[in-house]
């Protein structure tokens, strides 16, 4: 896994065939059941399906409740319209049998019976009851046999209706559990045989909800089945879909495992794209590329360093052995030459060890004590310090500066950079020539520019891109002759980069070389 790989790398215990890695893989840890053990595809599918089922169920419930309300209301409306129409007709008719406004009608039971007949239908039972629910008049029909009695109405219905002085409907259940809509309206009083007002009576219209319930039942069945089927289909489709989407992730996991086992040549190689998985794949590959490059650079550096150290060691060991075994045959000039060779090798090795230590210090410790310094003054110091060296080699060292140029730097390290460049220039300059140092402020970029220019043989174009690489020496024999360790420019670059600057070289063969360090300039301290 990638994090495992990273952990290994940061521990610095990475080796290409580290078998211990295998035992540290999460997959071999005793597995406790957890959400992380369920494949992501299944997790997502189940979540999708559950959401789908929930949505369907909510929608169904909403639809069901709405339809139920619609059907019940519709039935109640039908009853209300029928009642109002009948009452209006009765009032319009007038006469002894009509309702006489204002005031409630007072009719005989026979008249009420007639009235109920006019209102009843195939699915509507109509009765006239008194406040106790006792039937006073009824339209005898098939439906009135099964219609619920007024006793199923909520208690106190008569008082409620009398208080409101208008009709109200309820959904009630009969003995068989079937639902009805019962519309009850206070309509008047009974005219008794002695022409006195009888008790208050109510018109009760009861319409069966059988048809509506049948529709609702069908619908409920359909909704439940639909939800279940939807959920199952959701899981199946979700699995297929997520599997397709997650297949690259699976590939990535297997690649990462292979890489963790040491195969750093493996890549995910996702097709180009802009979605998260394509980007993850590309980023992953990029990360492995960089890790591999870093490891390779590290490996090469160690190999180069060991080569660079072993070569002088071999010479030293061999040459000293020659003296010990008397291979000089007592010839003093041979002895002198051998010892001189050993001495030079020791010097070269000392410089090499020094440079390697410097480089590793620059690599491993970030500069901490940045101060604002005047680069002009620093270069003047170096010019003074190196002048005798230049003179000894028959060279001139010139310094050009145009006023103070301040930069943020660690003075010793920046000095090391310039010293390395000057040393390099002095090495390659022909006798009698001059090495030019200059420092200037580039007004357009606000950068300080430190330049060291020589008139030496220049740098071959094929070497130019590599001269800052560690241990890179274009012309080995010449480099050896000049005592170059191949690290001076690498050290310079490493230091300049920790200072947030850049170093570059310009040269063409025969024209000398120009090394330029650019650093962000700052305003001088007060």
């Amino acid at each position: 896994m990638a994090w495992n790989l990273l952990a290994k790398l940061s521990n610095g215990r990475w080796t290409m065939d580290d078998r211990r890695l295998k035992n540290h893989r999460p997959s071999s840890i005793v597995r406790r059941p957890s959400i992380w053990s369920v494949p992501v595809g299944l997790q997502l599918s189940v979540i999708y399906a559950a959401l789908l089922a929930l949505t369907l169920a909510l929608l169904g419930a909403f639809l069901y409740i709405w339809l139920n309300g619609f059907l019940v209301n519709n039935t109640a409306d039908r009853l209300t319209r029928g009642r109002d129409l009948a009452l209006a007709q009765q009032t319009h008719r007038g006469g002894p049998h009509g309702f006489e406004p204002p005031g409630p009608p007072i009719l005989s039971i026979a008249d009420y019976t007639n009235f109920t007949r006019g209102l009843s239908g195939t699915d509507v039972a109509v009765t006239v009851v008194d406040a106790q629910g006792v039937v006073m008049a009824s339209a005898q029909s098939a439906v009135s046999e099964i219609a619920p009695h007024a006793s199923v109405l909520p208690t106190g219905w008569a008082d409620t209706l009398m208080a409101r002085k208008q009709g109200q409907w309820w959904v009630v259940s009969d003995k068989g559990g079937k639902r009805w809509v019962a519309l009850v309206t206070p309509i008047g009083r009974i005219l008794t045989q002695d022409d006195t007002q009888g008790p208050q009576v109510f018109l009760e219209q009861a319409a069966s909800l059988d048809t509506a319930d049948a529709v609702l039942n069908n619908m409920r069945l359909l909704l439940v089945l639909g939800t279940i089927v939807g959920a199952i289909l959701g899981v199946i489709a979700g699995l297929a879909l997520t599997r397709t989407v997650l297949r690259p992730l699976d590939k990535m996991v297997r690649t990462a495992e292979a890489i963790a086992d040491g195969d750093l040549a493996r890549r995910v190689q996702m097709p180009e794209g802009r979605n998260e998985i394509a980007r993850l794949g590309a980023t992953f590959d990029h990360m492995v590329n960089r890790l591999a490059a870093a490891l390779e650079a590290q490996r090469r550096f160690v190999a180069d360093a060991s080569h660079e150290l072993r070569t002088p060691l071999t010479s030293l060991q061999g040459l000293s052995e020659m003296l010990l075994m008397g291979a000089d045959r007592g010839d003093s000039s041979t002895v002198q030459r051998t010892v001189r060779g050993m001495h030079n090798e020791l010097g070269r090795m000392g410089r090499l060890v020094n440079d390697m230590l410097t480089l590793s210090r620059v690599d491993s410790t970030a500069p901490t004590s940045f101060v604002t310094i005047d680069a002009s003054r620093l270069l003047a110091e170096i010019a003074e310090q190196m002048a005798p060296v230049a003179e000894a080699r028959g060279l001139r060292l010139d310094l050009r500066c145009y006023g103070p140029v301040c930069v943020q730097a660690e003075p010793d390290r920046l000095k090391q950079v310039v010293l390395n460049l000057v040393d390099n220039a002095l090495r390659y300059s022909p006798q009698g020539s001059a090495v030019q140092m200059s420092v200037a402020l580039d007004p357009t970029t606000g950068q300080a520019r430190i330049e060291v220019q020589d008139t030496g043989p220049g740098i071959a174009p094929e070497d130019l891109p590599h001269i800052f690489d560690r241990f890179y020496r274009g012309d080995l024999s010449r480099a050896r002759a000049t005592g170059n360790t191949g690290l001076g420019l690498a050290i310079a670059r490493a230091i300049v980069e920790t200072h947030g600057g850049a170093i570059e070289a310009h040269s063409s063969p025969g024209e000398g070389a120009l090394f330029r360090v650019t650093l962000p300039a700052v305003s001088p301290p007060d």
């Binding site: 071999t314 061999g318 052995e321 010990l324 045959r329 080995l476 050896r480």
Partner: protein
């Protein structure tokens, strides 16, 4: 032991030829000095192409070949040397990682040495390669009627077997391989007792006395004393 056996030696007039290929001048100088001293004929190349040219020209018995060479590297040189003809190859590598070793041997090298190495070890391996290839470094050393067999470590003089201690044998071998050369006591100590021997050089005088007694060299005409310098072998008047 039949004396005639020694006459079947390969042509002792032609010294064994070694080609040294390395781009480090000091290592080349050191190897040239040492191999010359050990009695080899040494030629030198400092890069791959030069090595191949030299190999064609001098037909060396052994090539001491550095892996890291400018131009074509040692591995490739070795491969081409093998294609050119049969020659012993001893590779020198500054790396020594397993991968490089296998690659070096795959390319046809007989053996390899990881830098830094001691010259002693290089000689031991060079001799082993030459022996495996049937090229003997003078199995028997002789001077007059004195014969030293390196393989059986037996010394005879005029057919008479002389029993020598290992130190005495090594000393006599040193003298016989470098006739006429005068060795200082220090050099003898280094060569026979080893570099890490910290004893007195007087031990040499004692061993020389014993050696002379055993060889019947009473007149000191065989092992010569050079006053103020050391000892050396004087090819006798009865020379080859």
């Amino acid at each position: 032991m039949n004396v005639n056996e020694w006459q079947e030696q390969p042509d002792q007039e032609r010294p064994i030829s070694v080609l040294v290929v390395d781009d480090e001048p000091l290592i080349v100088e050191m190897l040239t000095m040492g191999l010359n001293y050990e009695g080899f004929k040494v030629s030198v190349a400092t890069n791959g192409l030069e090595a191949l040219d030299q190999a064609r020209e001098v037909k060396p018995d052994l090539v001491v070949l550095d892996v890291m060479l400018p131009g074509i590297d040692g591995i490739e040189v070795c491969r081409r040397l093998r294609a050119q003809g049969d020659v012993g190859v001893l590779m020198l590598t500054a790396r020594g990682e397993l991968e490089d070793r296998v690659q070096g041997l795959d390319s046809g090298a007989d053996d390899y040495l990881v830098k830094p190495f001691t010259f002693k070890e290089l000689m031991a391996r060079a001799r082993a390669i030459l022996r495996r290839r049937g090229i003997n470094i003078q199995k028997a050393l002789r001077m007059g009627d004195l014969i030293l067999d390196r393989q059986t470590r037996r010394v005879t003089r005029g057919g008479r077997v002389i029993e020598l201690t290992p130190r005495e044998f090594d000393m006599l071998e040193l003298f016989l391989t470098h006739p006429r050369q005068v060795f200082t006591r220090d050099v003898i100590l280094n060569r026979v007792w080893g570099y890490d021997y910290l004893g007195d050089t007087n031990v040499i005088d004692v061993h020389i006395r014993h050696l002379r007694e055993k060889l019947g060299d009473d007149s000191r005409s065989l092992i010569r004393s050079v006053r103020g310098v050391g000892y050396g072998l004087e090819p006798s008047s009865e020379a080859e």
